[in-house]
């Protein structure tokens, strides 16, 4: 097992651990701090701390849950620094008409796809990016951990140091905001109705 070998002093094994988790850790870091350079630095720091603490890692949680916790703590520390530009975007941007004109390069790799589909995915991607930018950092983080990394509620609670109930609340509201922002996309893709909303007067808790 890579972790045991790394704990025994095999630096090659530690490198493979880094390679295995760097993208996922980066996605979480980016969700928190928004800036790619900051996220890259943060993840490097997280791996160095993980390296230092490897002898004390008991394996009670999975390695990436443990690593995510380090990443999340570092991200929160960074966001709390005085003068830090959080980059939070006003939610009104979700209604902006110019969102489809944003350049989102990742769509360019859809070579060979139906041109109409490419355009549509580009539009969705641009709107998704704006919607993500409008979310608070902790909402983006739970979205990434759940929808991309597939962490359980329990694991997300461990990573973020909050209760399972808080995680559920954050996840629900984050999804709801994304669904609102991409409502017509959902409707087109899955024939979805408007996202479910709880009774009036209920507030998001734990966030």
């Amino acid at each position: 097992m890579l972790i045991e070998r790394a704990q025994a002093g095999d630096t090659g094994a530690f490198r493979r651990l880094v390679e295995r988790h760097q993208r996922r850790a980066f996605a979480v870091a980016l969700a928190l701090v928004r800036d790619e350079d900051d996220a890259r630095e943060l993840v490097q720091d997280a791996f160095l701390r993980a390296y230092r603490s490897l002898p004390t890692f008991q394996g009670g949680s999975s390695f990436f849950t443990w690593l995510y916790r380090i990443v999340t703590n570092l991200g929160i520390d960074l966001l709390r620094k005085p003068g830090r530009q959080t980059g939070e975007v006003d939610e009104s941007q979700l209604d902006s008409d110019n969102r489809v004109d944003l350049d989102v390069p990742f769509i360019g790799r859809l070579d060979g796809a139906d041109p109409a589909d490419v355009v549509r995915r580009r539009e969705i991607a641009a709107r998704l990016q704006i919607a993500l930018d409008a979310l608070p950092s902790y909402h983006r983080a739970v979205i990434v951990m759940r929808e991309i990394d597939g962490l359980s509620y329990e694991e997300m609670g461990q990573v973020m140091g909050v209760t399972k109930g808080t995680i559920m609340s954050r996840l629900f509201h984050a999804r709801q905001k994304l669904q609102r922002a991409l409502y017509d996309c959902y409707e087109e893709q899955v024939g979805a109705r408007r996202p479910a909303e709880p009774r009036d007067g209920e507030q998001e808790n734990g966030s």
């Binding site: 002093g9 490097q44 390069p105 998704l128 990016q129 929808e147 709880p198």
Partner: protein, 202 residues
């Protein structure tokens, strides 16, 4: 929508496969009774894959920026950066191949120490014997101040001629004596350098 936030969260957990025990039973009972609850869960289940696909597109592209992180981390480790990370001392991972070599070095050092101690013990015992048995001839001596010593006196004595030692110079704050210890045969002779630590007490 008539469902409370708490109920909606439970339905979301049910849709995500995260609801267990009594809460799960409660949600499933509600699902059996409420069309609204059924619609909510169905909508959550159907929209999940679409969102995951879009997010994978977005973060899949962005996360390519992470590909150099392993190189950077290992370079920092090689440069000792791990020891400068804030938060206390760092337990360095030593490459596994080094561990046996370190044990060998330790054993060699231990053996050398034992041999050196044994040699000192032999010299001490011999010197004690010299003092009591007059088995040696003093070949040179230096006082508290640094002195240059030429040919040893022992070398000048007829009985010891040809067996003396040459002492170029001794510069010491202590009294230093040099002895030639006679052995049973000519080849079994030894030279002892004696530094007197008790000088001030005398």
């Amino acid at each position: 929508m008539t469902l409370s936030l708490e109920t909606t969260l439970e339905l979301m957990a049910l849709a995500d496969g995260e609801l267990h025990g009594d809460a799960r039973e409660r949600a499933e009972k509600l699902m059996a009774q409420s069309e609204e609850a059924q619609r909510v869960v169905a909508a959550m289940r159907s929209s999940g894959p679409a969102l995951q696909s879009w997010l994978a597109d977005t973060f899949g592209r962005q996360s390519q920026s992470a590909d150099g992180i392993a190189d950077a981390v290992m370079a920092k480790l090689a440069g000792g950066a791990a020891s400068t990370v804030a938060g206390g001392p760092i337990a360095h991972l030593v490459p596994a191949v080094r561990a046996p070599r370190a044990r060998v070095v330790t054993r060699v050092a231990l053996a050398a120490s034992v041999l050196a101690f044994a040699a000192l013990a032999v010299l001490y015992i011999r010197s004690m014997g010299v003092r009591s048995g007059q088995q040696l001839a003093r070949v040179a001596a230096a006082g508290a101040s640094g002195v240059a010593i030429g040919a040893p006196r022992a070398a000048e004595e007829p009985a010891q001629r040809g067996r003396g030692v040459e002492v170029e110079e001794i510069d010491s704050a202590k009294r230093v004596s040099i002895f030639e210890i006679s052995g049973a045969t000519a080849s079994a002779q030894s030279v002892v350098v004696w530094i007197d630590d008790d000088q001030e007490e005398r």
